[in-house]
């Protein structure tokens, strides 16, 4: 266990607080536990739950953000996912979509596959995003800061990254129950 592990909130606690601040914004959620937990916490038609294509959540969100410039688009991502699709930090930073918020739940492990360590303990992903050219970047460790910074990002022009240090706890959440084609249809209708 890492020194701060005992004091960190869980990914689900962080996600619940974020979802409470959101209404009908499109949210693209990476594969693995993050999508399963989001579905369990609050299921909205504006949620796009991924069950594969690891590393692609911010690229999908970028496509939505470019197609829908008047909607604020959020992506919920994991540290392992960000590392796999790290080039997309550059693409986002170069294109500078104002309506793009990248939330990273950083537990320093591939939680979904059994907590194998990632390298985000030594590679600060929010600094990579900042160096690439994201406009606003914050790293938070607790619930109060998370709520404060996320509210602030919702008011600001992006691209923004909110990296939340979370512990390894995983909710008892089942697999994504909706059929993928139905997720596509429902999401498209909801963000029309």
């Amino acid at each position: 266990m890492r020194p701060e592990q005992g004091t960190l909130i869980s990914r689900a606690q962080a996600m619940a607080a974020l979802l409470e601040l959101l209404t009908d914004q499109p949210v693209i959620i990476c594969n693995g536990f993050p999508s399963r937990e989001a579905q369990k916490l609050v299921d909205r038609p504006t949620h796009f739950y991924m069950i594969g294509s690891m590393g692609s959540a911010p690229a999908i969100a970028l496509g939505v953000a470019l197609a829908k410039p008047h909607k604020q688009v959020i992506t919920f991502d994991g540290d392992g996912n960000v590392l796999m699709g790290m080039g997309t930090l550059a693409t986002v930073a170069a294109l500078k979509p104002k309506n793009f918020i990248h939330v990273v739940f950083d537990n320093e492990v591939y939680g979904t596959t059994g907590n194998q360590p990632t390298i985000s303990n030594v590679v600060p992903l929010e600094k990579v995003a900042k160096a690439a050219g994201y406009t606003n970047v914050e790293r938070v460790l607790d619930l109060d800061d998370l709520v404060y910074e996320f509210k602030d990002m919702l008011k600001k022009d992006g691209p923004s990254m909110l990296l939340i240090k979370v512990n390894e706890f995983a909710e008892d959440a089942g697999r994504v129950v909706l059929d993928p084609p139905d997720i596509t249809k429902r999401f498209m209708k909801a963000i029309e």
Binding site: I28, F48, M50, I51, G52, S53, M54, G55, S56, A59, I60, A61, L62, G63, V64, A65, L66, A67, K68, G85, G87, T88, A90, T91, A94, L95, P180, P181, I183, T184, F187, M188, I191, E192
Partner: protein
């Protein structure tokens, strides 16, 4: 030889309004034309381009992704576990490097297996010809609308005018 501006115009006439991808020399003329028309969103990897196109599709766009056929290798998982599983269509404009075994060594294996690879993935494909171009574009549009999965158009050497004639 098809002019790049005619090629881009044909896609626009079909309703394609989101273009992304990664360059190949054979696609250079098309990409230059797209950039002239301010229609091109550059990606850094082909799988990223495919995912971006999927997002754009869900946001109401008709997307096309330009890539060299080696990029199909890079995109395999995204095409399968995003586009095919979630029924998200896109038009893949793929330069056929290594066709007929005449190209640099790095293109020969993919050049040979590409059509079978897409057959295995059940992604419909066609090779663009100058004489059949109108038919080819019509087929692309119909397949995109009906099947809601990716559809590939192969571009062979000398069919669309490049940057260097």
């Amino acid at each position: 030889m098809i002019e790049s501006d005619a090629f881009v115009q044909a896609l626009q006439d079909m309703g394609v309004n989101f273009f992304t991808g990664v360059p190949d020399s054979m696609l250079g003329g098309i990409i230059a034309e797209l950039m002239d028309r301010r229609l091109y969103t550059p990606a850094v990897r082909e799988d990223e381009a495919v995912a971006m196109a999927a997002g754009a599709y869900m946001g109401g766009k008709v997307p096309a992704v330009l890539m060299q056929n080696s990029g199909l290798g890079t995109s395999l998982n995204t095409l399968i576990s995003l586009n095919l599983i979630y029924h998200q269509p896109c038009i893949l404009i793929v330069s056929w490097r290594g066709q007929g075994g005449k190209d640099a060594p790095e293109h020969l294996v993919m050049g040979e297996v590409m059509p079978q690879l897409l057959d295995t993935m059940k992604i419909p494909h066609r090779t663009l010809t100058e004489a059949g171009a109108i038919e080819d574009f019509k087929w692309i549009a119909e397949t995109f609308m009906k099947q809601r999965i990716p559809v590939a158009l192969f571009i062979t050497k000398g069919v669309v005018k490049g940057l260097h004639p």
